[in-house]
């Protein structure tokens, strides 16, 4: 699956599942950028076929509602939606 990487401070593996048209997703991405942490993101709506299915299957493990944005931190914490305070707290 093709993730884009944004460089920044290493706070572990931070993965953002997002939609290219979703404004809350954009805000989340900007917020992570402003925090200065490194992260990977993928716009699931821009994937096709098997890649899309595999992204959705992975997302499903964390968020069975499969909603966006979904942020997975270090393979242990999942934050659904643009929740600034929760994200900040989790990445302290």
């Amino acid at each position: 699956m093709k993730f884009e990487h944004v460089d920044g401070q290493d706070r572990g593996k931070i993965v953002l599942y997002a939609l290219s048209t979703c404004v809350w997703c954009k805000r989340t991405k900007q917020f992570l950028g402003n925090l200065g942490v490194g992260f990977d993101y993928v716009f699931v709506d821009l994937l096709q076929g098997a890649e899309k299915e595999s992204a959705m299957a992975e997302l499903d493990k964390w968020n069975p509602r499969r909603s966006f944005p979904t942020l997975v931190i270090n393979g242990e914490k999942c934050i659904i939606g643009f929740k600034e305070d929760e994200i900040k707290e989790a990445l302290r």
Binding site: L19, V23, V44
Partner: protein, 164 residues
């Protein structure tokens, strides 16, 4: 910002005002959503919610074509729809802020409004016409067929159920 987006924004804003709805007053945020609607129209052929993953098939997406079937309930409960294109009067006037909210769209396909089995609440043979209900805004029309476009929320004919 494209001219198409400006045009769609003006239309949505005018329609909203006429029918007692309000667009998000954060114009940068709203314009991004409008661009999202146009992007979805271009790739799917319909204006699916920018903040939900659309299928691309119109019937599959019918409940999330903007305005979605969940807008009014979310406005009542949270003061904004899921993507926050539409907001309450309070938020429109700047007295409160739109916050992200959970998606109430059923995960199971067959629980979605367009696939749920429907029976009219009551069928009264005394009625001179059947009554049709808009799933988006609840508008009722007593006529042989549902209207082509809902006069209140502009939803299309395929988003009406037989009500009586």
């Amino acid at each position: 910002m494209s001219g198409d987006a400006e045009k769609l924004f003006s239309k949505l804003d005018a329609d909203a005002r006429k029918s007692g709805y309000f667009l998000n007053p954060d114009s940068a945020f709203t314009m991004e959503l409008v661009e999202g609607l146009l992007a979805n129209e271009k790739r799917y052929g319909h204006q699916a919610c920018p903040c939900r993953l659309a299928d691309g098939n119109r019937l599959e997406d019918l409940d999330i074509i903007c305005p979605c079937d969940y807008r009014d309930a979310d406005l009542d409960d949270f003061g904004a729809c899921y993507c926050a294109l539409y907001v309450s009067k309070e938020i429109a006037e700047g007295k409160a802020k739109a916050e992200p909210l959970p998606d109430r769209r059923p995960v199971g396909r067959n629980e979605r409004p367009q696939f749920r089995e429907k029976k009219p609440g009551r069928t009264d043979s005394e009625l001179s016409h059947p009554v049709w209900r808009c799933r988006v805004c609840g508008y009722l029309a007593a006529r042989d067929e549902p209207p082509g476009i809902c006069p209140i929320c502009k939803a299309t004919k395929d988003r009406f159920d037989r009500f009586m």
